[in-house]
């Protein structure tokens, strides 16, 4: 049975790698379309991590909603919009690069330290069971109903954001 544990661990790192590769592609691609597909890869990796956490329901919803709906809507927005043909610059550009780097790093460290200090880590249960649907449903529709409704604005944001990106290009030039 140890072999399966190794396979599971390898899969976990494969999904982590997929998530980060996709994220890197999304941020650093020269073409907008490649960036969107990088986003899809990244979200697929996150779906894999959900499966690893023992919730097939969340995995399928992640693929169905994020890869299958949000990414497709963004791609459609890019296709319909007047996409500029020029590629984004290869190097990191911008006058305020050092300041941006500093701000990002400080923000990350501050949040990271705060999160690590505040969180009480408890050992995971041996087997949560396949209660994910019931648990998720009850929590979403009773306790966190408002948050659940607000999340659906994500789709609207995806449409508007993709139109803005597609019209202005990655460098922010307005046509």
């Amino acid at each position: 049975m140890i072999v399966f544990e190794y396979i599971a661990e390898a899969l976990f790192y494969a999904f982590v790698a997929l998530t980060f590769t996709g994220g890197f592609l999304a941020v650093r691609s020269k073409l907008l379309m490649h960036a969107v597909l990088g986003l899809a890869v990244s979200l697929f990796g996150v779906a894999g991590l959900y499966f690893y956490l023992g919730s097939p329901f969340l995995t399928m919803m992640q693929i169905l909603i994020y890869v299958g709906a949000v990414c497709i809507i963004i791609v459609l927005g890019v296709m319909i919009g007047n996409t500029p043909d020029q590629l984004a610059a290869k190097k990191l550009t911008g006058r305020n690069l050092p300041i941006a780097l500093l701000a990002c790093t400080t923000g990350f460290i501050a949040l990271f330290v705060a999160t690590i200090n505040r969180t009480e880590f408890t050992a995971a249960n041996e087997k949560i069971g396949d209660m994910s649907i019931k648990f998720v449903g009850e929590n979403l529709l009773y306790q966190y109903c408002l948050a659940f409704e607000l999340i659906s604005v994500v789709l609207l944001t995806a449409i508007i954001g993709s139109i803005i990106l597609a019209r202005g290009g990655r460098e922010g030039k307005t046509p």
Partner: protein, 328 residues
């Protein structure tokens, strides 16, 4: 050695699942490719393929060899990585849904409690593949085909999901095995005829087939999203399309036609899979039949039909079902 024996059954299971999936995908494409051309021929009062083998039986094998031998042409200004990625992305995900389809009450790769969601999730990747292919080809016909495909698929996914939700409310389960088992006295086609009709119409639209084949409409868009594809990259799209037809017809069989239930045949332990395949191939025959009988719809008619008729009717049907389930 002991370790090897401990993982052997699971290993064999995985290998058998993979091999069976490949056999279904390729065998189904051969059978349906031949059947489609023959049926198209006979519907149009001509014999169809006749030359290679008895009644043209080896035509598809020869065609497959020809397609494998052809050169892969990448257009000069195409986006090469995306252009090559699209056929793979259209073909690869079809193996996953085959895992959760219950071919008989014992023959199933993996009984997942969210089986139907898995099928929907992996079917949605196909749309992404069509989009990438259409965009990567750098051809305006391909682009129009891809845009149409998205508008159509996103719209028709909704009535399909809602009509299936009525069944899921009745059975209280997403697992295809439990849904098939829940209709042992009467099939759900009797209890839910409206849902069945909506499902069938959305099914035709989801597989991008005529009369809803607007993404590849030959007379207006040459061949839509796969205009620029040749050889094996084109045939991967076709293989993916036939596999998607098989999967979606299996889902319709499980949801409405009682899955693998039927009159026990002489070799009764195998009768489940025989009935299942018979129902699936009847539905596929139906798809071919209407493809060669009805002309293509106009795009605005297609979208109006979905948003103005199918979605409201499926919602009303769902509401009635929920009330009935609560009352009974």
């Amino acid at each position: 050695m002991e370790l090897f024996y401990s993982i052997l059954p699971e290993l064999i299971r995985i290998v058998v699942c993979a091999v069976c999936g490949a056999v279904i995908v390729f065998g189904n494409a051969l059978v349906m490719g031949y059947a489609e051309r023959k049926l198209a021929g006979h519907i149009m009062l001509r014999p169809g393929p006749m030359e290679v083998g008895p009644h043209g039986l080896y035509q598809l094998v020869v065609d497959g060899l020809k397609l494998m031998g052809k050169q892969l042409v990448v257009p000069l200004k195409a986006d090469k990585p995306l252009f090559m990625l699209a056929p793979i992305l259209a073909f690869a995900p079809v193996f996953v849904p085959l895992l959760v389809i219950p071919f008989s009450d014992k023959l199933q790769g993996f009984d997942l409690d969210v089986g139907y969601l898995l099928i929907l999730a992996f079917a949605s990747i196909n749309v992404l593949a069509i989009l990438i292919g259409g965009w990567g080809s750098n051809n305006k016909y391909s682009l129009f085909g891809a845009i149409r495909s998205v508008a159509q698929n996103v719209a028709y996914e909704i009535p399909m999901l809602i009509s299936a939700l009525a069944i899921i409310f009745m059975t209280n389960s997403f697992s295809l095995k439990e849904i098939a088992a829940a209709q042992s006295p009467v099939w759900f086609i009797v209890i839910q005829p409206v849902a069945f009709l909506i499902f069938i119409v959305s099914m035709v639209a989801e597989t991008n087939r005529a009369p809803f084949d607007l993404p590849e409409a030959e007379s207006e868009l040459t061949a839509g999203f796969h205009t620029e594809y040749s050889g094996m990259s084109f045939s991967l799209f076709v293989l993916g399309e036939y596999a998607n037809m098989f999967i979606i017809c299996s889902v319709a069989t499980v949801f409405f036609l009682g899955g693998s239930s039927g009159i026990p045949l002489p070799y009764f332990e195998y009768s489940g899979i025989i009935w299942f395949l018979a129902k699936v191939y009847f539905l596929m025959f139906f798809l071919v039949w209407i493809r060669w009988t009805y002309p293509r719809t106009r795009f605005d008619q297609l979208m109006n039909f979905c948003w103005k008729y199918l979605i409201p009717f499926s919602l009303v049907n769902l509401l009635i079902t929920v009330v009935m389930v609560k009352l009974l």
